[in-house]
Amino acid sequence: MTELSLRLAVTFAQILAEMSIVMITVATLTYFERKVLGWMQDRMGPMEVGPYGLLQPVADGIKLFFKEDIVPAGANKAMFALAPMLTMVVAMIGFAVIPFGPNITLDIYGITIKPFVVADINIGVLYILAIASIGAYGIILGGWASNSKYSLLGGLRAAAQVISYELNVGLALVGVLMLAGTLSLVQITEAQSGGFWHWFIWGGRPDGFFPIHTQIFAFVVFIISAVAETNRIPFDLPEAESELVAGFFTEYSGMRFAFFVSAEYANMTLVSCVASALFLGGWNAPYPGTIFEYIGLEQLAWVEHIVWFAAKVYFFLFLFIWIRATLPRLRYDQLMRFGWKVMLPIALANIIITSFTLYFFPR
């Protein structure tokens, strides 16, 4: 009984820490995105609240918290309330299998915990794919329950888009899974340790540098499909401002709107975490080992690992914002054609080629 309660307490503490990290990242992202977008467009971004607008996320949060909660007439109230919760919860629990730091274990009063991953389950990648698919339900439900033509159109587009691009995300990961031979994100990341030439973007072949197992095509497919899956520009058709007001969350206001927006940013962070864990070596530094080990501070090596993981994740987040500042929105038929006739064949060919190279040159 005490062991169970201790385990529960440790797990809850981990979940709390992880959720607060994700929420802080989301709050930072809302500021960071507006700032970077402003800089790239010769503007300043938020400058009023606090020095250089640093308190803007706080002000936005307070404003959204106190805003009136409007439910449109004719809306399905239960579904309307359920949709933002579903989206938000699903975006949050995806982080449970993400390893933020090295795979070390701690012993606390006889029980063994891994401090940098909440749940090291052996089907981590599958879990993330499943959770990301459930997130689409929140969007579709929100679009349908709002009793608004813009929301409905946004939800329909989200359904079609998510089906098209979820497929590519899943298929792009297959090559990596074949290379690693496991579905656990912790073990996949561990398989890439020892320098950047071991990362799965190059194929992780220790003998000889020629990257015969390279997953760079899968990586590009994954990044593009991830942008599409998180409804970001240039694939933001479900929430196209100039066509559909705000798409599936047109009718949402206050905290429900905040849930949708936070879920979008959390999804961005999640796909960035997955991309860096699967293709760019996760917490591993681009050189073998860590600097802290070389100078004799093995206890602090985890700090360097976490810094590298955060650097990779923030690189991807910056890339998303950068793409948003650059590209216009695709037309709907372009989106579908690109997903089915370009991305899908590349992903399938990548699977076939990787399986052949793995058969003839096993790792």
Partner: protein, 179 residues
């Protein structure tokens, strides 16, 4: 599709060019924003701002109540109620003078039309109000705007006929006599 175009497609060449452009704008950060309430842009010399009624240097109003501004105004902003100066039957003045600034489009035709230069356009533009009725100005308010915007006043010439200024305005597009 030529081979070159194919290479450009699979390497996202055009997209990379675009992303280079945005990145160069971020690295050479020169915002065009002016943080309005904190810093204000320099107004041009011929800026046409809030309208005002002017006075001579001895404090008498310039306006002679001729109604020409009312006639010139395309938006029917101005309403003048003219009257004789008490005790001086040859002189008139505007007993009441109203401007509905909600309708004004700041064309300056009233200022051009005024024969005695009694109207002026100030450089004030921060006239946002919560109540629209605050923009319905009477004579005292317009004179107050003129007082605070034109501290240097014109001297009143005793024998100047009012129409002299009017003709000057009317023919000012003609070439001036040299010297």
């Amino acid at each position: 599709m030529t081979f070159k175009a194919w290479i450009k497609t699979i390497t996202f060449y055009e997209i990379l060019i675009g992303m280079k452009a945005t990145m160069s704008h971020m690295l050479h950060y020169r915002p065009v924003t002016e943080q309005y309430p904190h810093e204000k842009r320099t107004l041009p010399d011929n800026y046409r701002g809030m309208l005002a009624l002017l006075r001579y240097d001895d404090g008498t109003e310039k306006c002679v109540g001729c109604d020409l501004c009312e006639a010139a105004c395309p938006s029917r902003v101005i309403r003048v109620i003219s009257a004789e100066v008490p005790g001086e039957p040859t002189k008139r003045y505007s007993k009441e003078y109203y401007m509905d600034m909600t309708r004004c489009l700041f064309c300056g035709l009233c200022v051009d039309a005024c024969p005695v230069d009694a109207l002026g356009m100030t450089r004030e533009f921060e006239w946002s109000v919560y109540d629209k009725r605050q923009l319905h100005l009477n004579k005292e308010q317009l004179l107050a705007i003129g007082d605070r915007s034109f501290p240097v006043r014109e001297k009143q010439l005793e024998l100047q006929h009012p129409n002299v200024a009017f003709f000057n305005v009317a023919f000012k597009h003609l070439p001036q006599k040299p010297g």
